[in-house]
Each structure stands twice: as C-alpha cells, then as structure tokens.
C-alpha cells in the first residue's frame, strides 16, 4: 500500500476518517496516504476536508480527513462539514478514531454517527499511551456493546495503517439493520418513530430516518433541510408540529427535548465506558504535570513565553545569516554568468538588463533574504505546535483578551500570524463567535509575520551598528523580540477599541482543551513543515518577486526629466516620509512591497543603488543616505504597523466576504503606524 496515484479501473471506496478533535485523524491520514498534511497537537487544527487516493489490488480507497467534532448535532462549522460528509451519502465507509486514553469522550459522537449511518469501523489510537497510564480497555467488550468492529491502531505507525487498509480490503459491509444504538426516554422514542415512519418513505441518501427524525424533534432544521426533498417538506413539518404538541401536553418543551436526547446519549456513553474500562484511574495521564506547572505557572508562564520567542528569533537570526551569505554569493556568481552568456549570444541590451538587473536580481535577493530564516523558523514553530504548547498560550493569555471582550483563542491565531498573517487570518475559524473571529482577523497583522522579520533584523542590525559600532547578534535578537512583543501588545488596545466601536459586544463563552504535552516526532515534523509551509510561502514570494523585479527595472529605466522614474516618485514622497522619520525611498519600498513584505529590503537596496556603481551592503547604503537611529526605530515601527501584504488582504476578504473589513484591516494598522512614527519623530527632534 502507500502508493498514491490517480485513476484505476477498480471500484472506488470512499472512506471518511472521523472522530473527536485531536485524536490523530490527520496523523492517520498522513501515514495512510503518504500525504503531508500539517498536524498539530490542539483541537480544531483541521478545518477543511482533504482527500487522497490509495490504490490496492482490489479497490481504490479515497480517504477523507474530516474535521474533528464532539457531536453531530450542534451548529459549529466543523460539525456542518462532518454532517455534510457523513449524512449526504458522499462516503461508503466510516472509520472512527478513538483516543484510548479518553474513551468516554469519544463515545457520544461514535454513538451518534452509528445512529446516523448504521455501521462504522472503530480504531483505538494512543493505546500505548493508555497502557502507560494504567488505563486498560476491553476491546472485545467494546465491540460487542457498540456492535462495530474495533481495531487497535497507532496512527503514527506506517505498518499499523497498512494493517488498516488490509482490513478495509477484506471488510464486507454488513446488511443494513435498524439497530438503535441509543435508548431514549419512551416519549421521545415514540415521537421520533412516528416522524421517522413518514420520512423513511423517501430515504435520504444513506442517513437513517430515525436520526433525521430526532434532529427534527430537537428543532434542528439545519441538518434536516439539507437531507430533505423539498416536496415532502410540508408533510414532514406538520408531523413534527403534531409531535411537538403531543410532547408539550406531557410537559416536555423545546429545550427539554434536546436535553433528554443529549442526556440519553451521554448516559449510554457512560454505561459503555464503565463496562469497557477495567481499571478506572481518572486522569492519570496528567500525573506528571510538572511541565504544565512551569508552562502555566503564576510566575513562570510569561517569562517562558518571552524566552521562547527570544530564543526562536536568536536561533533563527544567528543560524540564518550564514546560509543567507552563501546563497547571496552563489546567486551573484550565477547572475554574472547568465549575464556573460547572454551577451555572448548577442541578446539585446535592454533584455539582458531587464532579466539580470531586474527580474533575476530581485528574485535572488528575495530567496537569499527569506529562505534561510523561514526554513529555520517554521520547523521550530511546528515543533512547539506539535508538542501542544499553543493552547497553553491561549490559556495563559485569555484573561487580557477577555478584558478586551475577545476570545483567548485569538492568542492562537496571533501565534499562527507569526509564521504568516494569511495563515493567521484563516486559522481564525477556530473562534466560534462571529464578532470575536472578526476581531482576531482585523488585528492579526499587528503580529509581524515571517516576511517582516528580515526587515526588523536588518534594520535592527543597522541600529545596533550605529549605536555600538559593531553588529552583535544578541542585541539584534533582543531588538527584534522587543518589537514583536510591542506589536503583540498593540493588539490589546486595538481589540478593546474595536469591541467598543465597530464590533460592539460582550465576550462570549470560552472553553479550550489543553491536550497532554506530547513529544513531537522531531524529524517528521521538520520535514513536513519544510515541504508544505516553507515551500508554499517561498513559491508565493517567488511568484511575486519576478514580476516585481521587472517593475523595478522599468521604474529605474524610464526617465522623467532626465532622472529615473523611481527617484522622481521617491522625491514626491519625500516630504510625506520626512514627517514620519523616513525618506521617500523607504516609503516607496513599503508601498511597492504590497504583494510581499519580504521585498521591502531588496527594493530599498536597489532603489538606493541606482546610479552608484559600487556594491554596498545595506547598512553602508542606509548610513550613507542619512539613516539615523531615530529613522531605524521609525522604520521598524512602520514595519510593524502598516498595511498587510496583498495575500493577507485577499484572505481577509475571503474569510469576511466584506470589502469594509478588508479595507479596515489595511487602513487601521497604517494609520496607527503613521501616527506612532510621527510622534516618535517629533519627540526625537525636541529631545536631541
């Protein structure tokens, strides 16, 4: 197994991988299909469905990685997706993954799915971990009680997932029986049966009519509407109305119906788990909570967070400077050879100049500047994520967010934003409340993304040089960390102001699960994050850098009144830029770098280099153009607070479907940046 390829004459079997959040669905998906889906140790990591094909001799299996949920019957986005997949007949088989260390948690959803689709295959993950903590499960008994096959599995293990495929190959779907997995109070059962007998005349693509009847009784028309043929709507709704009336006469009203239904499910789950667990040791898997005591301790939590941040930057900056220098050397070498080769071939001068000085030069600079830090930062961050540190950050920081009428999960999206703001914005889906989700989306760009670290780092370098005379990495890392923290802190007042003005409202409830800290599979995590995240972000930057190189070339090639257009533009911007402590060239770079923030430094360098024949380093260029420590601070502040890159803006639009919020997300940070820079500039003028 393991070969993933397209098309085969074999029959297709569509298999859904479902279960609670954070039980290893994506991990199993990866080891089944050989795909590299990004995984993380926190619930809500997967918010969309991914599929992959695995071909075997008998059949082609298409696996779907369904977002984790706790039930099928409330209204969150993940649940809608899960219902869509499981109930609308889009799948043939359902593989349910259980966390063996918390079997009771897994059972309610299992029972609901069983009720809805009739049969499923249950996989017990984390059995080793359960054994380690003296949780002993009776597999046989579990299988009998839920009348489903139960297999043990280690989602991380390739051999184990191969065994699952082998099992699926042999698996014969049992004839459909109307087995009621859950026993409800008799009144409810009677009513549900009556509704069910009306709708079962029109079977709804694989989902049991009893399940639909129960949802209708609860008043959950969302699910029902999607499963209905429109013509039968009226008959069914009148039947539901009648049953509601009947229940009302018995004193069972709306709210109580769903209470009774959910109560019955949980009752059944408890019965099963009591019988299946041979030794009950509640919560023993958290026995060794020393790590938690330190990570979430009263005095240690925040210093450790800051330390992690500083350490990440220090390692990234320190390690990245070497490969950056090597890449630069390599690219200069390449570029000069391409230049020579083209000249010998007799290509036109403009073409050579456009290609080598414009496109290739910008492209190479962008790669040299951004690839090494990204290749170091992303894997490091993934390791923290995989270990389960991120939800703890949300836990530590919920109080201040609550004070801003927001949700602690916003801290999670901020962390994702450190990698890439566009990712941070789309991750905001984990926040349930619409208002709080918008808060997280609008303020995400206050956290500087990976593309902006190089700006902070190199300007920090210049700042340190201009103050101390030499470049010291520790100071640079400290400088970057301070600015990043400043950006993060800015999130709070802005969030507070937003929730008092445009996004008015009170905080909603907040619950977040703290998964046990797991040792990540270091090599695998690094490989996956290199392959998926780094490559995709790099590709995006390259796709932007090449055309931008051409634009830069044109701007320096076209002349206005004898001077290159670029200088002309930067001179126009000069007075405005002077107000905020910058100069026209730097402001122009920020504007031109709208497609990708990584471009700011390369553009600045090429703008300053126009007309000078020497290859000067960034710091020499800046210092010779009147760069002062004050302008360094202003530039870093503006780097923190300006419009996010176009990809992020597009993502904001996709997530909010609103031009207003997209414009706001660009305007708000820019205005703050301008105001702050102006203040710094004026204060500095009076002080010195």
């Amino acid at each position: 197994m393991g070969r993933v390829k397209k098309s085969n004459k074999n029959k297709e079997v569509r298999v859904a991988l479902c279960g609670n959040p954070n039980v290893g669905k994506s991990t199993l998906f990866n080891s089944l299909t050989g795909k590299r889906r990004h995984t993380g140790n926190w619930s809500g990591k997967t918010v969309d469905v991914m599929s992959a094909r695995v071909c075997t001799e008998d059949a082609d299996f298409i696996f779907y990685d369904i977002p984790g949920t706790y039930s099928l019957i409330s209204h969150s986005k993940e649940e809608e997706i899960a219902v869509e997949f499981l109930c609308l007949g889009k799948i043939d088989l359902c593989v349910y993954i259980c966390d063996a260390t918390a079997i009771f948690r897994s059972l309610p959803l299992l029972l609901q799915i069983k009720e809805a689709v009739g049969e499923l295959i249950v996989c017990l993950n984390f059995l080793n971990e359960a054994q380690k903590h003296d949780i002993i499960l009776n597999k046989q008994r579990l299988s009998e009680l839920i009348s489903c096959p139960v297999i043990a599995l280690n989602a991380r293990n390739k051999r184990s997932s191969a065994a699952l495929v082998a099992y699926l190959q042999k698996y014969k779907k049992p004839p459909r029986t109307d087995l009621r997995a859950i026993k409800y109070p008799p009144e409810i059962e009677k009513s549900a049966s009556r509704i069910s007998s009306i709708i079962s005349e029109h079977t709804y693509r694989g989902v049991s009519s009893y399940f639909v009847a129960l949802r209708l009784l609860e008043g959950n028309f969302d699910i029902a509407n999607r499963l209905f043929d429109k013509e039968n709507d009226r008959r069914v709704s009148s039947a539901v109305l009648e049953e509601h009336k009947r229940l009302f006469e018995m004193g069972i009203t709306g709210e109580k119906i769903s209470d009774m239904i959910v109560g019955a499910i949980i009752e059944r789950a408890r019965l099963i788990s009591d019988e299946v667990l041979q030794e009950k040791r509640e919560g023993s898997r958290y026995g060794r909570g020393i790590l938690d005591k330190i990570l979430c301790g009263k005095f240690t939590a925040y210093p450790i967070m800051a330390l992690f941040l500083a350490l990440c930057f220090f390692i990234t900056l320190r390690l990245a400077s070497y490969p950056s220098a090597w890449l630069e050397q390599l690219f200069i070498f390449l570029n000069s050879h391409i230049f020579k080769a083209l000249t010998q071939l007799g290509a036109s001068e403009i073409f050579i100049s456009a290609l080598c000085n414009g496109i290739l030069d910008t492209l190479f600079t962008v790669i040299a500047v951004m690839l090494p830090p990204m290749a170091i930062f992303f894997p490091m961050f993934s390791l923290l994520e995989e270990a389960g540190y991120l939800p703890r950050i949300a836990y530590n920081l919920d109080r201040p967010f609550a004070a801003c009428h927001a949700c602690g999960k916003q801290a999670l999206t901020m962390c994702m934003g450190l990698g890439c703001n566009a990712v941070g914005v789309s991750e905001s889906r984990i926040i349930d409340s619409e208002r709080e989700r918008l808060l997280a989306i609008l303020t995400n760009s206050f956290v500087p993304c990976n593309g902006r670290f190089p700006i902070l780092a190199s300007i920090g370098g210049v700042f340190v040089i201009s103050l101390c005379g030499a470049e010291k990495f520790v100071y640079v890392a400290l400088f970057v960390t301070l600015f990043v923290i400043a950006g993060m802190l800015m999130t709070f007042p802005v969030t507070r102001i937003l929730s008092a003005t445009i996004l008015k409202g009170e905080k909603s409830s907040f619950t977040i699960e703290l998964p046990p800290i797991r040792r990540p599979e270091i090599c695998k995590v690094i490989l996956i994050s290199l392959r998926t995240k780094v490559l995709s972000v790099l590709w995006r930057a390259v796709a932007v850098a090449a055309p931008m190189g051409l634009v830069l070339f044109l701007l320096s090639y076209i002349t206005v009144n004898g001077a290159p257009l670029m200088l002309y533009l930067s001179q126009i911007l000069n007075p405005a830029a002077a107000l905020i402590g910058l100069d026209g060239v730097i402001l122009l770079s920020f504007i031109l770098a709208l497609p990708a923030s990584e471009m700011v430094i390369p553009i600045t360098v090429s703008l300053y280099s126009i007309g000078s024949s020497f290859d000067l380093s960034l710091s020499e260029l800046l210092l010779s153009n009147g760069f002062t420590p004050v302008s360094a601070v202003c530039m870093c502040v503006f780097c923190l607070f300006h419009f996010p890159c176009s990809t992020t803006l597009i993502t904001v639009y996709k997530e909010t479907k609103s031009v207003k919020y997209t414009v706001l997300s660009a305007l708000m940070p820019t205005l703050i940046g301008i105001a702050l820079c102006a203040i710094i500039n004026i204060v500095a003028k009076f002080a010195f």
Partner: protein, 74 residues
Amino acid sequence: MKHIEELDLNEIGTVKALLCKGEMHRRFLDIGLCRGTKVRKVSVSPMGDPSCYLINGTMVAIRKCDAMKVGIDS
C-alpha cells in the same frame, strides 16, 4: 448551590445541574459536562482566570463566569 468555580485545587465535585441554556449548555455537553460528571479543578491560569478542570480524562479551560453556571454537590 456550590459551583465548580469554588472548588479548591485538586478537589473533586460531582455535577448536579447546568444553570444555563442554549449554546453554552450545548458546549458543556460537548465537553462531557452533565449531571453526574466528576470534575476536578487542576490549575488556575497565571492571571487567575480561566481555570483548568479535569473532565472525563480531558483538561478543559473554562472561564470563571462560565464555570459559575455549573452547579455541584456541596
């Protein structure tokens, strides 16, 4: 009635009633909080809110104001 919020660290209480409706009620049921569930307060976050509870073998952080809605036997 006592609330889970008033539990001491590592004290265990048994849920008696959920004092809320609608969405919040659902969410409690989702995390397995219902009548008869045993809840242990495991830790308090560094700023004093939210707190972390052990519910059916899973650690869940719940804000003070939400935890006030879960009544336990005293």
